[in-house]
């Protein structure tokens, strides 16, 4: 921790939004009563879904693996509390589609009994891959929202390590305050987690970026860093401007470097993790505990007592709302995530998952239905605020026209879906919805293309095989024909063979005593007739 103010950079555009965070930060992080039923989706991360690792009826202990990771980009799932597996079935999950996916349903037994765990406080003695493996086995995924398995982003990919590890404590979206509270209350865990991550990445330095509207969090972290007197970790207050917490934006602000279009931060020597992920990493190593719970902000005028809660993964949203005093009469829309980037939930039976940072119960005034969209007037307001330096009106135009090639020329996939453009659009065009539509359409087309290529390849292979088989068959036919055509020849040979056999019989009859002389003759005779005739006759 140093006192000089480090140089900061600015990203393009962005918005000043009403923070609305104070409504949940008045009280410390609360814990909630153990839910009687937990619904745990097997897929809570980006990558391959975990596979079921328990049977219905099994009694599981807290922290026991119930879903095994499949492949590299995947994460295991653990039982968040002890109890009995009562169901493994399709249940609605928090997803913009409102679809269902395989979930393991556990009826808790109230004892919250741990499976034996093994801490490894001496992480420095672990080699980096063993360290990463521990983090993988703890089921830790990026807790900032994306849910990418954390161990993958702890691989420096080179022996020199990375230049900068950034911990993202910007938390720029309105209402959400779970990271803020975590920094205030568990600053020491964040610092320990940062040290572990830095070790895994061999990072030269670690920067913790915090928006400057969170002085308490800043003070708590500064205190924690002073206590452990680690000079490699530095806290940097960044200007409060949405979306300062976007990965690429925060990297730009702190380092001045731009992540290349379509590239990864690692390419410029930077790795970015969320502060909550650091807490989970600390628990995984220092206590041996897998990721079983997370802090969730419950906010909005639709809930009686907005607050930040430590919630077990798998807790139904309805139970979380109940723990906050229930809905008010104003409750109109349920949003998972914040008002800018979150998505509407149709149903409060869905569970909290590893990536659920906020439940926003919005009143009508907080999430008004957008007025009908008008035509784009090409005012350019959207381009002025776009933090990714895109031309949102062009993206909109081509997405709407389903011109998926052109929309990619305008770097659609650099759009972080922050919603700034739609927020300022005077024509109320749901711009981000168009971009999401275009993105998933393009992915679908790519899938279809891959499938078509595979089918073409296999079909061509089949045609080739059929051709080859036919050629072989034809060749055999030819051979047979040739053999038949040379029929005269063959007759002669057969006659000769018969003649020879007769001869032998005669010889035998004539001189049975002269056996030694006759034998060589016989062997010669036998060889002649069989040899050449064989191939055609055996068919």
């Amino acid at each position: 921790m140093t006192n000089h103010t480090p140089q900061l950079w600015r990203f393009h555009g962005g918005l000043h939004l009403a923070p609305n965070k104070a409504q949940s930060t008045h009280a410390p992080i609360a814990s909630m009563p153990l839910p009687t039923r937990l619904i745990i989706p097997l897929q809570q991360h980006i990558g391959t879904s975990a596979e079921v690792g328990v049977e219905i009826g099994a009694h599981v202990l807290k922290g026991q693996v119930i879903g095994r990771a499949v492949g590299y980009v995947s994460a295991p799932i653990h039982a968040p509390s002890s109890g009995t597996v009562v169901e493994i079935a399709e249940r609605p999950i928090p997803h913009p589609s409102g679809m269902s996916a395989t979930c393991i349903v556990i009826d808790t037994d109230g004892r919250d009994e741990w499976t034996p765990v093994q801490a490894c406080p001496d992480y420095q003695s672990l080699d980096p891959s063993a360290l990463r493996n521990r983090i993988r086995e703890a089921g830790i995924v990026g807790l900032g929202g994306a849910g990418f398995p954390a161990f993958i982003k702890l691989n420096p990919a080179s022996a020199h390590g990375v230049d900068t590890l950034i911990l993202n404590g910007a938390e720029c979206e309105p209402y959400i305050a779970c990271d803020d509270m975590l920094m205030r209350e568990r600053a020491d865990a964040i610092v320990r987690g940062a040290q572990i991550m830095r070790h895994a990445l061999l990072a030269k330095r670690c920067l913790i970026g915090i928006e400057d509207n969170k002085p308490e969090a800043f003070a708590a972290l500064a205190q924690a860093i002073r206590q452990c007197s680690d000079t490699g970790i530095e806290i940097v207050p960044v200007p409060t401007i949405y979306p300062a917490g976007g990965e690429k934006q925060l990297i730009k602000v702190l380092t001045g470097k731009e992540v290349p279009s379509g590239g990864l931060p690692l390419e410029i020597g930077v790795i970015c993790h969320n502060v909550a992920t650091a807490v989970a990493v600390d628990a995984a190593l220092n206590q041996g505990r897998p990721l079983l719970s997370r802090v969730v902000t419950v906010a909005g005028a639709g809930v009686r007592t907005p607050c930040n809660l430590d919630v077990l993964v798998g807790t139904p949203v309805s139970a979380v709302i109940a723990a906050c005093g229930g809905y008010t009469d104003d409750a109109k829309r349920l949003i998972m995530g914040g008002p800018m980037m979150g998505f509407t939930l149709d149903n409060d039976a869905v569970p909290i998952v590893k990536t659920s940072n906020c439940i926003l119960v919005a009143a009508a005034a907080e999430a008004p239905d957008p007025p009908p969209a008008l035509p784009c007037i090409r005012c350019g307001a959207c381009a002025e605020v776009c933090p990714a330096l895109l031309l949102p009106q062009q993206l909109y135009w081509h997405s709407r026209a389903k011109e998926f090639d052109k929309v990619q020329d305008y770097r659609l996939f650099d759009c972080i879906e922050c919603g700034c453009c739609a927020y300022v659009c005077p024509s109320h065009i749901p711009l981000v919805q168009y971009y999401r539509y275009a993105k998933t359409e393009i992915w679908a087309q790519e899938r279809d293309k891959r499938k078509a290529d595979l089918a073409r390849q296999r079909h061509e292979f089949r045609l080739q095989r059929q051709q080859r088989d036919k050629a072989e068959r034809d060749a055999r036919m030819q051979q047979k024909k040739a053999a038949l055509n040379s029929g005269g020849n063959q007759d002669a040979r057969q006659k000769a063979a018969i003649q020879a056999a007769l001869q032998r019989v005669k010889e035998k009859q004539l001189g049975a005593a002269n056996a030694p002389e006759a034998r060589p003759d016989r062997s010669k005779d036998e060889e002649h007739p069989t040899g050449p005739v064989d191939p055609s006759q055996s068919r």
Partner: protein
């Protein structure tokens, strides 16, 4: 004047040679238009267009023998893409559009006759004579060609269902989801 004429002539000759060389050196094998058409077809190999596979249909289109609106699995998207490529006006699909499908063999009924294996254009069915057969779902194109040969009618075509992996955001003209969300407050509230 003379030198100018000479220079131009020389240049022309040089470029002529260069072009001549390039046309031999970089000759494109096959029919590029046909290849491009083939690349847009879904490779289901179902024959619903009246040709024995996607490539023969592509060849027929390239020869101008047949309309571009006969691919049922490709649907309207393929018609539009083909029209785009060939500079034609998109036409309504001549056949009924067919969503993605996959064949499913009822393994208890299957007698292992191998007739379906012989019909499958992409070798997506595995099984030996007199043993139960199975469709490799990832490789099945949903062409239905294996259905008619089966003597015990144990092959069904199942539409591919939307799941989390292939879910797509809807086109935003539909009104936002607020209606659905209104139910929330009443469900537990």
């Amino acid at each position: 004047m003379l030198s100018a004429i000479l220079a131009i002539t020389l240049l022309a000759a040089a470029f002529g040679l260069l072009l001549g060389y390039a046309s031999i050196r970089f000759r494109v094998e096959g029919d590029p238009v046909m290849e491009k058409i083939d690349a847009l077809l879904p490779q289901t190999q179902c024959g619903q267009c009246g040709y024995p596979g996607c490539r023969p249909y592509a060849e027929a289109i390239a020869r101008g023998e047949v309309d571009i609106n006969r691919c049922a699995p490709g649907g309207d998207n393929t018609v539009v893409a083909l029209a785009d490529l060939l500079g034609l006006d998109p036409k309504p699909l001549e056949v009924e559009e067919q969503g993605p499908m996959v064949a499913l063999i009822d393994e208890d009924t299957c007698i292992g006759c191998t007739l379906c294996i012989q019909a499958c254009p992409v070798d997506a069915i595995v099984g030996a004579a007199k043993h139960m057969h199975t469709v490799i779902e990832l490789e099945c194109t949903g062409c239905k060609l294996c259905v008619p040969p089966c003597p015990v009618e144990c092959i069904d075509m199942i539409p591919v269902e939307e799941d989390l992996a292939n879910w797509k955001w809807p086109f935003p003209e539909t009104p936002p989801k607020s209606e659905a969300a209104d139910r929330v407050s009443t469900s537990t509230g």
